[in-house]
């Protein structure tokens, strides 16, 4: 199955950059979760968990590289069914942490199915639009794609995990955009979203704390101890890092827990604090490289299925990166959107590595028939 020729076209550069980003993430997790004791200290338990996840993620990566993406796409409906089943299962029996039901405990680990939503959605949408020989041009296609995306989105939003749910939308938009969706339709879609969904969501769907977060984002000083706290602290964390940063484990905002969930949603803030603007530029450069390289892969793809698949995955990835980085500087409302590859979280890392397996898969197989 894994021919020498394929090995020759393997995108080593992308893999290396992805691993570098993951490595930076682990270093930052080490820094923020370090347990300081009077006589020294030790690394937090999160580092080990993340390393395990990296190992599992590399296995998943290999699996998703090795299997032909067309084979996977052919079985995307089954995968889609499995995803929906798992999400339903989470809703019914999942373990509850911090007021949300997102996890399925597997031994010592908690498996979070929603993180795999993007890959599965990308697969099924790419399959649907890539194999119908006309792309996604008509309102009907849009509705079909919308339903495919909407079911897991609602299930995830119900957990409630609005942040992760929202990341499915760019996957849908990415695939349909590349699929040739008419600009007029796209415009209508945007208009409908703004005019209908926002007020409806505000009235019916958003919980009070979610509304509060959005209001707070518009004016963080209004409530500096409550909802605005994270945002103000994020800005302080980033701003006080300066050009060159406070040095590894030298940060005060993350180290002393002024910034909540620093090792998770705000990992980039810690990077900005400890490594400064230069570190920020480096990390942004690495992420930009990954995205542009992936878009290049989409361009090179042998078929529309491959192009759409890569486009969908990378659209979701880009959205997550841009949103999280903006949020980590207090430039976007605080939402539970992790920074893929860097944030602490096993499911997130495994899903990200698996999805890059698919992207490298597409590039590697661009000449095969």
């Amino acid at each position: 199955m894994f021919e020498r020729r394929l090995y020759f076209h393997f995108d080593w550069l992308l893999l290396v950059v992805i691993l570098v980003i993951t490595g930076i993430g682990i270093a930052m997790i080490y820094s923020t979760t370090y347990v300081t004791l009077p006589d020294g200290g030790h690394a937090g338990p999160q580092v080990r968990t993340q390393l395990y996840a990296l190992a599992i993620g590399l296995v998943a990566f290999l699996v998703f590289v090795a299997l032909d993406y067309r084979l996977l796409a052919e079985h995307s409906l089954a995968l889609y069914g499995a995803l929906c089943a798992l999400l339903l299962f989470v809703l019914i029996k999942g373990s509850t942490q911090m007021g949300a039901q997102r996890w399925i405990p597997i031994g010592p680990f908690n498996f979070q199915p929603s993180e795999f939503g993007r890959v599965v959605i990308a697969l099924i949408l790419a399959m649907y639009f890539g194999e119908n020989r006309r792309g996604a041009r008509n309102p009907g296609d849009l509705v079909a794609g919308g339903i495919f995306t909407g079911v897991p989105l609602l299930l995830i939003a119900k957990q409630p995990d609005l942040g992760t749910a929202v990341t499915l939308i760019p996957v849908f938009l990415g695939v349909t955009f590349l699929g040739g969706l008419r600009m007029r339709l796209l415009g209508v879609l945007a208009l409908v979203t703004v005019l209908v969904l926002v007020p409806v969501a505000w009235t019916f769907a958003l919980k009070d704390y979610q509304k509060a977060r959005i209001m707070t984002f518009l004016d963080p000083e209004k409530d500096p101890r409550g909802e605005g706290y994270q945002q103000i602290q994020a800005r302080i964390t980033v701003g006080s890092g300066g050009l060159t940063g406070k040095g590894f484990r030298g940060g005060t905002q993350g180290q002393y827990k002024f910034l909540p969930v620093a090792h998770n949603d705000f990992i980039f803030s810690v990077l900005a604090e400890e490594q400064g603007y230069l570190g920020v530029l480096t990390a942004l450069g690495l992420y930009l490289f990954v995205i542009l390289r992936s878009l290049q892969t989409a361009r090179l793809a042998k078929d529309r299925l491959g192009a759409y698949l890569v486009g969908g995955i990378i659209a979701g990835f880009s959205f997550q990166v841009i949103y999280n980085v903006a949020m980590s500087a207090g430039l976007a409302p605080v939402k539970g959107i992790t920074l893929p590859l860097m944030s602490y979280g096993g499911s997130s890392l495994i899903a990200a590595l698996a999805s890059f397996g698919l992207i490298i898969n597409v590039r590697m197989r661009r000449f095969t028939n």
């Binding site: 964390t237 006080s240 827990k257 900005a272 400064g276 942004l284 841009i322």
Partner: protein
């Protein structure tokens, strides 16, 4: 609808991928700019904010300077107590819950805690405020075990004042408590931060600047829960200056024991006539200054303030009383120094005499016969002093009384001294816009009428007579320890030096000696070989007619004075004992006797005497309470004028 060709398709895809690339690159560029604004352009602002986030300055209160007596015996020191504090920045969001829980676990009143927070709301929010001063160990433990629930509540070990037990010299030391807003507004309190403990009375107040020391700081790094992570720098506090007082602890204790044994309230001051050093200064009833260090509770404060006996008043320098017969010393001095009389000037006393158409009685019904100055002092003959006073006129009495320090502020280094009053023609004109009647002088000559004086000024009079005319400023500070060792303090200059003729001084001393050692009223202060010289005096609390009206409603028994120095020749100590409602000065004399015995025993290295209480005996029929037929006019009196 035509099916697009593959190449069309491919071109289309390429275009859209380019659009996506553009969108992503644009977004990343905006992020790069955003981070540049925060991390480079506004870096300083955020650095300060981050610093304020995790850096806390904790004050390390400086212990106040230790107070020693003249023999370097420790009088007032410090002991560590605990304060329970609130960091409002930490507790902001759930302050009321925190206060409720704190009140519950420490057994305090939630309303009081809330009021404290409210009262200090204007202080900078980064500075922790003290909620419970002088907390018990139980309270501290209660706070410690609930550290996670009591957000922003912490405890702090602080030095607090420890005063001697049994309220010794309470008014002399004064007390400390938190600086109040009125004081903060004053220039002499500049540099003192809100929340600081400052002296509010006595030595603690007058030497507050020396005693306060300099607070240290501790800068610490805290985490988001306010937990201390590490220390960044420490400036240790600098203890306040150690002060050596002029007080002799044993003499001080002897005087207070004497009062307690006799059951009197009152005041006493004992001075060194060579320099004005205060050996003892007593005011009773006293209060416990320890009750103030570490915060006085409201009930105690209210009871101190509403007590009819006024325990907060320092009677020695804030009480004004009619001096009675002790004033005759000033009149004798005036007569002699003005040359109006000589020691041999004689007056015949037949039990009374007429002046300006009115008859003034002597206290002795049958009269003293013919007496000279020495015997007039010994016998406290009113007629003699009526006569001398009449010859002098009120202004010359005023002049010499003032020279001896009467009716003047002594300038002692204690706060809020009041000025006594010796009337004069000028005073009457200014006060009442009335002419002085020569008849009024007669009452003044025996210390009645408007004459009202502080016990301290009486002590100064005795000191001045004892040393022959130098009116030293009474003072309490002998030396200051700046760290390397004791530096003597330059005593304040004398208020006045009016050399008295030696023969005049000798005559007065002889008379005073005879009061104690002869046929006079001061026999109960007699000490063999010490030549104690003194004079008793009795001060009416209220006029005789008033006394009858008020009988049963208030204590109308007369006050007793005993002024003294010892020995007669080259006196070593001089002072006053003022015993409230002792009915007669003779009952104040034993208190002085015990103090003098203690002083000399100490001076000569002998074992200190023990007090053998002498119960007040029947009042000897001597002093001029019943003197004038017509009570002298004055404010608060019956208003009849001679």
């Amino acid at each position: 609808m035509t099916t697009p060709t593959l190449s069309d398709d491919r071109r289309h895809l390429t275009t859209r991928l380019t659009v996506l690339q553009g969108i992503v690159a644009g977004a990343f560029a905006m992020l790069a700019v955003g981070f540049w604004v925060f991390q480079v352009a506004q870096r300083e602002k955020f650095e300060v904010m981050a610093e304020n986030n995790h850096s806390r300055r904790l004050q390390l209160p400086a212990p106040r300077g230790v107070l020693f007596d003249r023999n370097l015996k420790v009088l007032v020191e410090n002991q560590n107590t605990f304060n329970i504090t609130l960091d409002r920045e930490q507790a902001k969001s759930n302050l009321s819950d925190t206060l409720r829980l704190l009140a519950e676990v420490t057994g305090t009143d939630e309303a009081v805690l809330k009021e404290t927070v409210n009262r200090k709301r204007r202080e900078p929010s980064y500075r922790p405020i003290v909620l419970i001063e002088n907390a018990t160990l139980e309270q501290v433990y209660a706070v410690r075990v609930r550290h996670y629930e009591l957000v922003g509540i912490d405890y702090q070990e602080v030095p607090a004042r420890k005063y001697p037990s049994s309220d010794l010299a309470a008014h002399l030391f004064g007390y400390v408590s938190e600086v109040n807003e009125a004081q903060l507004a004053r220039s002499d309190y500049s540099g003192i931060e809100p929340g600081a403990q400052v002296g509010q009375a006595g030595i603690e107040q007058s030497y507050n600047k020396l005693l306060m020391g300099t607070d240290g700081d501790r800068f610490v790094v805290v985490n988001s829960l306010g937990r201390e992570m590490r220390e960044t720098s420490v400036t240790p506090p600098k203890e306040g200056r150690r002060l050596q007082l002029t007080i002799d602890a044993d003499v001080q204790r002897a005087v207070e024991e004497g009062f307690h044994a006799a059951g009197y309230n009152g005041a006493a001051v004992i001075l060194d006539p060579h320099n004005g050093e205060v050996l003892s200064l007593v005011s009773l009833p006293a209060y416990d200054p320890n009750a103030f260090s570490g915060g006085i509770d409201r009930a105690t404060w209210n009871s101190l303030n509403t007590d009819k006996l006024k325990p907060l008043q320092n009677r020695a320098l804030q009480g004004r009383y009619s001096p009675g017969s002790t004033f005759k010393i000033a009149v004798a001095t005036a007569g002699l120094q003005e040359g109006v009389i000589t020691p041999d000037f004689r007056v015949h006393c037949s039990g009374g005499a007429s002046f300006y158409g009115r008859y003034f009685q002597c206290w002795k019904k049958g009269g003293h016969g013919t007496v000279d100055l020495r015997h007039a002092i010994e016998q406290s003959c009113n007629v003699y002093f009526y006569t001398v006073g009449n010859m002098l006129g009120v202004d010359k009495i005023h002049k010499w009384a003032s020279a001896l320090g009467l009716g003047e502020k002594t300038g002692i280094d204690l706060p809020n001294e009041v000025q006594g009053l010796v009337p004069s023609t000028q005073w009457k004109r200014q006060r009442f816009n009335e002419k002085w009647y020569a008849g009024e002088t007669i009452s003044v000559a025996i210390g009645q009428g408007q004459v009202s004086l502080t016990p301290l000024s009486m002590a100064v009079m005795m000191m001045t007579v004892a040393n022959g005319g130098t009116r030293y400023t009474p003072h309490l500070l002998k030396a200051v320890d700046d760290g390397p060792g004791w530096t003597p303090v330059t005593p304040p200059p004398p208020k006045d030096v009016v050399p008295m003729k030696p023969e005049n001084v000798a005559a007065i001393r002889d008379g005073l000696w005879a009061v104690v050692n002869g046929a006079g009223t001061g026999g109960r202060a007699r000490i063999v070989g010490r030549d104690v010289s003194g004079k008793t005096g009795t001060a009416q609390v209220i006029s005789l007619t008033g006394a009858r009206a008020m009988a049963g409603k208030m204590d109308v028994r007369d006050h007793g004075w005993f002024v003294f120095f010892a020995p007669r020749d080259n006196p070593q100590i001089a002072g006053v004992v003022f015993a409230e409602h002792a009915e007669h000065g003779a009952n104040a004399a034993p208190i002085a006797k015990y103090a003098i015995e203690t002083y000399f025993a100490k001076l000569e290295g002998k074992p200190l005497p023990t007090l053998t209480p002498t119960p007040p005996t029947a009042v000897p029929a001597d002093d001029p309470v019943v003197a004038p037929v017509t009570p002298p006019a004055g404010p608060g009196r019956s208003g009849q004028r001679p």
